[in-house]
Amino acid sequence: MQFSEEQIWALAPDEASKKAGKDLAHPEKWISKGANDVAIWGECKGSGSKPYETQIHVETITFKCSCPSRKFPCKHSIGLLVLFVKNKSFFTDLHPPKWVTDWLNKKAEQTTKKVEQKDKPVDEFAQAKRLQAREQLVENGIDELLLWIKDVVKNGIVSMPENGTSILHHLAKRMVDAKSQGLASILKKMAVIDYYSEGWEEKFLSQLIHLYLTISGFKNKTHINELLLEDVRSNIGFTIAQEQLKTKQGITDNWMVIGKQTIHDDDMVIEKNWLYGCSTKQYALIIQFSVRWQINSLLLMPGSCVHATLVYYPSAWPLRAIIKEQFALVETPKPIGFNNWNEVSSVINNNRAMMPLTIEIPFIIHQVLPVFYQNTWWLKDETHTMVRMPNNFTALYTLLAISGGQAIDVSVVGNGDIFQPIGVWLHHQFFSL
């Protein structure tokens, strides 16, 4: 297991658990400690008469603890894992007690059941019928959405600030009912536009066009490029099973995590990990969805570099990927990005013809200087070309503090017009923004 202490702290559900976990990462807190290739376990003295039994499955990093905490992972699990990472020599017991073997056996049984389920022959007829039904639902949904789009275009978008965003929320719900989660997300994004700030018209219209292009692409599926159709389907909310993707050939490289963005959507936590292939110089996006308190299956720490095989989702501009196989953490090299914004715009312009839909694109760019101009912060390169940073960029002052008025290497994410820094390097040290 190659996790660093920082990565384990990142698993803690909140700061209180982190603090409590730190306190429990001391050998004297544990009555017994043991570990083997499969699991780590320990008994921790709590307030009750019986010690808490804490166990961690090494391969899948799953936790189980007999404590009554509703937080997951609990402070005992965090503390035990940190203690193990800090000093394995404390874990002298190699033979798991019964409560550990029982849990491991149960897990193994569950895995077998899953495999059995997977091995069951697929009822292709039923599957096709399900797909047809879903497509019908989607088509009904997008017809309703198109009707609304046309209505807005007919009457003008000027009344949007006045009318409020309730219609957008309502439509988003309708799209969820129509199994078009992707369209619902675009509508939710439109609902959070500040309709009283300058330039809202362009933001709204761009999203409206994005919706229209997605709908048109789906309606004209037989006429468009196969890869672009995958983007259209993904935009609507069709998913591709990860198991299916994993059967495809991947790209093995040392992937550097150049930024992480966490978005909270009701109870759902969406974690976007932006990666950069050190040899292939390709960028990738690993998205993880989780419900609050639930642990993500992948631990990707910004600034670290992992040797892994990635498989991209089919796309006209492949970015989203899954990790097919993760081997080990490797030393982080100096990243090689773009030297100026013109190099970035040239890549965007070349790819735009293949990808008319709006997507977020990451880049590493060297030696840019944050500057304030016309009431906006920009990133300016040595050719005096500059791009805007978003007005609501919360880590602006961290970026400025690190820069100190000197040009810096940054990783950014944007859609071509505005780029948000997500990481910055200072003397080879990476800071997540």
Binding site: E15, D23, L205, Y212, Y373
Partner: protein, 494 residues
């Protein structure tokens, strides 16, 4: 791009009122637009959407970033102080996660004492904290280095970091800034603060005047020349006048205090009283309001009528005069020391009710000797007098008088500047162990005062009730964790 602007304008109004007419300068784009607009199989709205999508795409595909030679950012000056160690840096991050910023001030103090500074990436977090809590500002300014100074210029919320000349603040600052400045100056030299106030007094409004008098209140007892303050008693504003009277009452040499003292001197005397059927005698303090009562004392706040059943109207006047007369004057008049006088007020039943007036005057005139004498001799703990004493003295009395006064004594001890002794800490542990459910924020308030060495003794304490063991265990663990963190912070700067 002009075409895109046309699209946006049309979109605002809507196709119903303004059908789209657009001509693109690029002929290829124009041809494509025309093809869409000639398509009669779709409605106006769909035609608009297709043209808008085309123009939007055209605009994005020819992406050209903005160029500007002038836009620039000044470079931060080179640091002259060393950055703190990586360990100290990590501990600052841990400290910023703690409840109630418990060790933030300690960390800053140590960093500043060592003449070190924080790493740049943490600056926004600590500057924001200082912007929200003014008490952190002086230390944050000392630990932020040149980078911090540079960064503060970029954020209007962090302007506290710039020292503007005192004169400029006094002449042009906001009322809050001016009040703060006046307070600072009065801490160093009250006469200078009065001089400054005099310069602009006539131009100030009543609200500002009252606020500025409030600012100098803490140090007013050390004012030598009271003539200016006496002079403002003719102010029209009742609010200002009352505030001036309030301040003059705190100055032993002010005319108000001297007048009160004069009346009191005529009303208080030492007499011999016969006891045991006249076979023996003892000294007593006699208090009898003089007939020679100047009416002017009532215009400076002395109430004529008692609002308490305990005092007659006359006794109440005496009570108020005692309250506003420096206790040291009694020593002079009665030719007795503080201890003896207090003994009289404790033992002599008819004057016992005046003891609390002496406590008030001791506090008002910061008389350490009287504070010592009262605390030492009185059965009642006058906790408000404790801050007048040295910490060492306070700790001695706190231990002596602890029983029955636990809450008050612990609450007072939070304000001690130095760490508690292990012996006093054991009293605190005992208190928290015996009351594990009421500790609340106690441990967070106390932790900076608790010495690390007391980690050895904490296990000696336990609650009286077994069912409270669990809570005490958690509290104990939290105290140990915090002490460990505090020790690590201290060590990281050694």
């Amino acid at each position: 791009m002009q075409e895109w602007n046309v699209i946006v304008q049309n979109a605002l109004v809507g196709t119903q009122k303004m059908p789209l007419t657009i001509h693109a300068t690029d002929s290829l784009l124009n041809n494509a637009i025309e093809t869409i607009q000639l398509n009669t199989s779709i409605d106006d709205e769909e035609r608009f959407l297709q043209v808008a999508a085309l123009v939007h795409q055209y605009q994005l595909s020819g992406l050209q970033f903005y160029t500007n030679q002038e836009a620039n950012l000044p470079i931060a000056e080179k640091e002259t102080l060393q950055y703190c160690s990586a360990t100290a840096q990590q501990l600052l991050a841990d400290t910023l996660l703690e409840k109630h910023d418990v060790f933030f001030n300690l960390w800053l103090q140590l960093c500043s004492t060592k003449q070190q500074i924080v790493a740049p990436h943490v600056l926004p977090q600590i500057l924001q904290k200082a912007a929200q809590h003014k008490s952190y500002q002086p230390l944050v300014i000392e630990c932020m280095g040149k980078r911090g100074e540079w960064l503060c210029k970029l954020n209007t919320e962090w302007q506290f970091a710039f020292s503007i000349a005192d004169e400029e603040v006094w002449q042009t600052g906001t009322q809050t800034q001016r009040k703060k400045l006046l307070q600072q100056i009065s801490n160093q030299n009250i006469d200078q603060a009065i001089d400054m106030l005099q310069q602009t007094w006539s131009q100030e409004n009543a609200g500002a005047k009252t606020a500025f008098l409030e600012a100098i209140e803490e140090n007013i007892h050390s004012l030598k020349n009271t003539s200016w303050l006496e002079g403002i008693l003719i102010e029209k504003s009742i609010q200002v006048k009352n505030k001036a009277i309030h301040l003059l009452k705190k100055i032993p040499t002010s005319s108000i205090v001297l007048q009160y003292a004069s009346v009191l001197q005529q009303s208080i005397s030492l007499k011999k009283e016969k006891i045991l059927l006249g076979l023996s005698s003892k000294q007593v303090i006699e208090i009898q309001l003089t007939n020679n009562l100047p009416a002017s004392i009532f215009s400076t706040g002395i109430q004529q009528l008692s609002n308490s059943k305990e005092f007659t109207d006359e006794a109440y006047i005496i009570y108020q005069l005692l309250q506003h007369t420096p206790p040291s004057y009694l020593e002079e008049w009665l030719q007795l020391n503080a201890d003896t006088i207090i003994q009289f007020f404790i033992q002599q039943k008819n004057i016992q009710p005046y003891l609390s007036a002496l406590v008030k005057s001791t506090l008002q005139f910061n008389n350490v000797a009287w504070a010592n004498a009262i605390i030492q001799q009185s059965q009642v703990l006058y906790i408000q007098l404790m801050p007048l004493l040295s910490q060492q003295q306070q700790e001695i009395y706190s231990k002596q008088l602890y029983k029955g006064n636990e809450f008050a004594i612990i609450e007072n001890a939070y304000h001690w500047k130095q760490e508690w002794s292990v012996e006093f800490t054991s009293l605190f542990f005992q208190f928290v162990a015996e009351n594990p459910n009421i500790h609340g924020n106690y441990i967070y308030k106390a932790i900076t005062n608790i010495p690390y060495a007391s980690i050895e003794i904490i296990h000696q304490f336990s609650p009286k009730n077994e069912y409270e063991l669990g809570v005490w265990q958690q509290t104990k663990e939290e105290i140990i964790r915090l002490l460990q963190l505090k020790q690590n912070i201290i060590q990281s700067f050694q």
